[in-house]
């Protein structure tokens, strides 16, 4: 078996390449940090078995965040047989800087250059053939996502290590050799390790030269200048030389700002950004309420109703009838809840959301919200995971590992778990609120935003202050969405949902049924009555929904949606129900991610506080709506 590691800058198309190379599917998006952990796939080329590892983004061997550390650990601890680097032609020099580091490892390297055409339109013509000749490396051009794979497969077979073309000059080279002598004999990649030590990478220094730091310091001081700057200077010079020889200004570059650039600027503009945000939200609303609503109605009329009627005729009233089509029935609450209520909404929502992901809108939205998020104690790059929470909370929580400051990490993880609706919750919430009208949708999401701001302000005040990290973030280029890719992604997301959720829906329905039969549900309802009907003013059946959130929030939302359609919930109650479910529901995957990213005590504290805050805030909203709802037309 031959092991390949696919590496490259964030958002340079690594997952896309792995998908095309191995025929598997991992989520791809047009923004950085879509992949935050290593994943392994398999393929065979000419009868040989290849293991392909997809990795999170990497800028260089000098580590800038935790997911980069994961990649370097992979490279150093289990050196791959072949490295494939995705070179983003748009960011050619930035990519070359990584190439310089990878060449220093002495592992066979193949370059796959992506976005060549896009970069040419932006004004930079890259000659991939002369790049290959200059570096002595196999280079594949991949003008469109997923192309060039056949050639890559051919080149992988013949790839051999090439010596590093980068010479740091006599003084630095001497320092590198002296540092190599300080390393334990077992050290992988002595030259690269020595450079990292000289560059003072804090994540590397301690382990590598235990007890010999004085000698290392002596080597460092022997240089005329600080080692990190000298090394960076030489590397930059090499990058400039190479870039100068293989790129030229492209002939078809237009002088005027391109549409994508102007659009990106408008998205981030403090004034014009807002109508664009409103447009996208409106688009989601219309799609979910009208398109998904019609789809759901169609499925209910053609599938659910006939089946339920049929079962009703076949199975007489009693235990089995109840088990199948009762209020907590396997068919009604389990299968049809997931298939005919939840699935249509998710398909439409994932489609629109996938479109926004492909365009690259979300990180630009993060810029728009910068000033607000700074007030919530989120000063650095932490705003990106927060925005990604609108996609999937679990993924967003895992992305939070890229945050350096502990305080910000805690705030972000808590805020993601609290009042940010994930895409599934959002789709269903929109459907619930849409049953009453658009102003209920605006009110509920406005109130959720207020909850998030209050929580952020409080956390920022309560947690001990830390030096704020600096905000510096690469933004993905705005691209025209590729409908096929979006459709494919939506398809996979729905497939994953069905595979994961249907068993859970069924088990949850069964558990609720047993709970009901044993009389525990009635007992719980009596106990919770003062909270649910007294404090929140909601029907007592909301207890069923709250219990279902422990399984999956979509199951609960599906139930509430039915209550809304049946007229059990009026408009203001729908707002309360959406706020309660969004803030209260913690899916298992996200809880697991929280325990992984922060200490158990902190995770537990966050979860318990969220349960309390959820009830308190929903109650407060009820009071607000009772006193001022009329004036607001709610």
């Amino acid at each position: 078996m031959t092991r390949i590691a696919v590496v490259g800058l964030p958002n340079s198309g690594k997952s896309q390449l792995c998908n095309s190379l191995t025929g598997t599917y991992a989520l791809v998006s047009n923004y950085p940090q879509t992949t935050v952990s290593v994943s392994t796939h398999h393929t065979s080329i000419e009868g040989r078995h290849w293991e392909v590892t997809d990795t999170p983004g990497l800028h260089g061997l000098f580590i800038q965040s935790e997911e980069e550390l994961v990649v370097r650990a992979l490279l150093f601890e289990r050196p791959p047989d072949v490295l494939v680097q995705c070179v983003d032609a748009n960011r050619f020099r930035e990519s070359l800087l990584l190439t310089a580091d990878l060449l220093g490892l002495g592992v066979p390297l193949v370059l796959v250059v992506t976005a060549v055409g896009e970069s040419a339109r932006r004004g930079l013509q890259l000659d991939t053939a002369s790049l290959g000749r200059l570096l002595g490396l196999p280079v594949v051009a991949s003008p469109r996502p997923g192309t060039g794979v056949t050639e890559l497969r051919r080149l992988l077979l013949g790839s051999v290590p090439v010596p590093s073309p980068l010479d740091f000059g006599s003084a630095l080279e001497k320092a590198v050799r002296r540092t190599e002598e300080l390393l334990p004999s077992s050290a992988a990649f002595p030259r690269a390790s020595a450079l990292l030590l000289l560059e003072n990478d804090p994540s590397f220094v301690g382990a590598a030269v235990n007890g010999r730091s004085a000698l290392l310091e002596e080597v460092r001081t022997s240089l005329a200048g600080t080692a990190p700057r000298l090394i960076a200077g030489r590397r930059n010079q090499w990058v400039d030389e190479v870039a100068g020889r293989v790129t030229k200004k492209s002939a078809d570059a237009r002088g005027a700002p391109r549409f994508s650039e102007t659009f990106a600027q408008l998205c981030r503009h403090p004034l014009y950004g807002l109508p664009i945000l409103a447009f996208f939200l409106g688009l989601i609303y219309v799609m979910v309420v009208y398109v998904a609503g019609a789809l759901s109605l169609f499925l209910t009329v053609t599938v659910t109703d006939p089946v339920v009627r049929g079962v009703g005729l076949l199975v007489p009233q009693g235990f089995w009838n109840d088990l199948l089509i009762g209020p907590h029935g396997l068919l009604t609450l389990g299968l049809f809840n997931s298939l005919t209520t939840v699935l249509p909404i998710l398909s439409v929502f994932f489609l629109v959301f996938g479109l926004l992901e492909d365009i690259g809108y979300l990180p630009n939205l993060a810029i728009l919200t910068r000033k607000v998020s700074a007030k919530l104690g989120i000063t650095g790059n932490a705003v990106i995971p927060l925005v990604l929470g609108f996609g999937c909370k679990t993924m967003a929580t895992m992305t939070a590992r890229t945050i350096q400051s502990r305080k910000e990490k805690l705030i972000v993880i808590a805020l993601i778990a609290f009042a940010i609706p994930c895409s599934a919750q959002m789709g269903l919430s929109i459907a619930i609120l849409g049953a009453h009208g658009v102003r209920y949708f605006v009110a509920a999401f406005g109130l959720l935003a207020v909850a998030e701001v209050i929580a952020g302000l409080l956390l920022n005040r309560l947690l001990p202050a830390e030096a704020g990290s600096q905000f510096i973030q690469e933004l993905p280029p705005i691209r025209m969405p590729r409908l096929a890719a979006v459709a494919r992604k939506t398809g996979y997301r729905l497939l994953w949902f069905l595979r994961e959720a249907i068993p859970i829906f069924l088990v949850a329905a069964l558990a609720m049924f047993a709970f009901d039969r044993l009389g525990l549900l009635a007992l719980l309802k009596t106990a919770l009555k003062p909270f649910i009907t007294g404090w929140l003013g909601l029907p007592l059946d909301m207890v069923d929904a709250l219990l279902l959130t422990f399984a999956r929030s979509e199951a609960a939302a599906g139930l509430i949606l039915k209550m809304a359609h049946a007229g059990v919930l009026n408009g203001p109650q729908s707002i309360l129900a959406v706020i309660l479910i969004t803030t209260f529901a913690q899916c298992f995957a996200n809880i697991a991610a929280m325990f992984k990213e922060v200490r158990a005590r902190a995770a537990l504290l966050i979860i318990v506080s969220i349960y309390a805050a959820s009830f308190l805030y929903t109650g407060a909203v009820r009071a607000l709506l009772a006193s001022a709802g009329g004036a607001l037309g709610l």
Partner: protein, 247 residues
Amino acid sequence: MNGITDREEMLERLWQLGERGAATVEGLRISLKGRFDAADLERLQEDGMVRRDAETLSLTGPGAAHAERLIRAHRIGERLIHDVLGREFESGACEFEHILATEIVDGICTLLGHPRECPHGFAIPQGECCKVSARYVQKIVVPLTELQIGQTARVAWVYTRSDQQLHRLTSLQIRPGSIVKLHQDYPSYVIECDGASIAMDEEVARSINVWLEGASPVREEAPARHGRPNFAKPWWRWRLGGRTRGH
């Protein structure tokens, strides 16, 4: 060798050793290599510049003040060579005349009081600045925050707080010599550099210093007043709620 220059050199080395931890006699000896002279060290102690405690050396108040002046001069000089004459300052092969923009030459000329002859005695052709007898140097390197939106500039130098930050910015190609274009300055700064759009806070933007190249030092376009759009720009470039830009 008991010259002032040697003792000054020793003070500079002591300052540098102090930057990296405690200075010792042995450290000083290694640092100065063959030029170490114990008599110089004793003289510095007599002059009250250096305190010696067994093997440990430290600068006294006056000693530190003197060393600080020297180090400043030294490093400003390096800055000039590094930023103005290109980054190969160690090799000494600076191709002065090929890389200097006219404005920069004028700036140095003004600083030096418009010299007429070179050290070899040849005449220096007069520049615009000499003709108008300019007495003030126009600032030619400014923080990124002072660029106009849409303006392009070359990075002169970047101040970084730590090695990590140096790496972060370098890997994003924000480094001396890079060309950056300012796209937006509110709510965050957004620049384009090496084909990528990069968003950053004002603090980071302030640490990036760029040459004001090509453009005339006197701005033709009046900066937009607070809260009022500049109607001379296309409508999507109107600045809203931004800072008023002093000049």
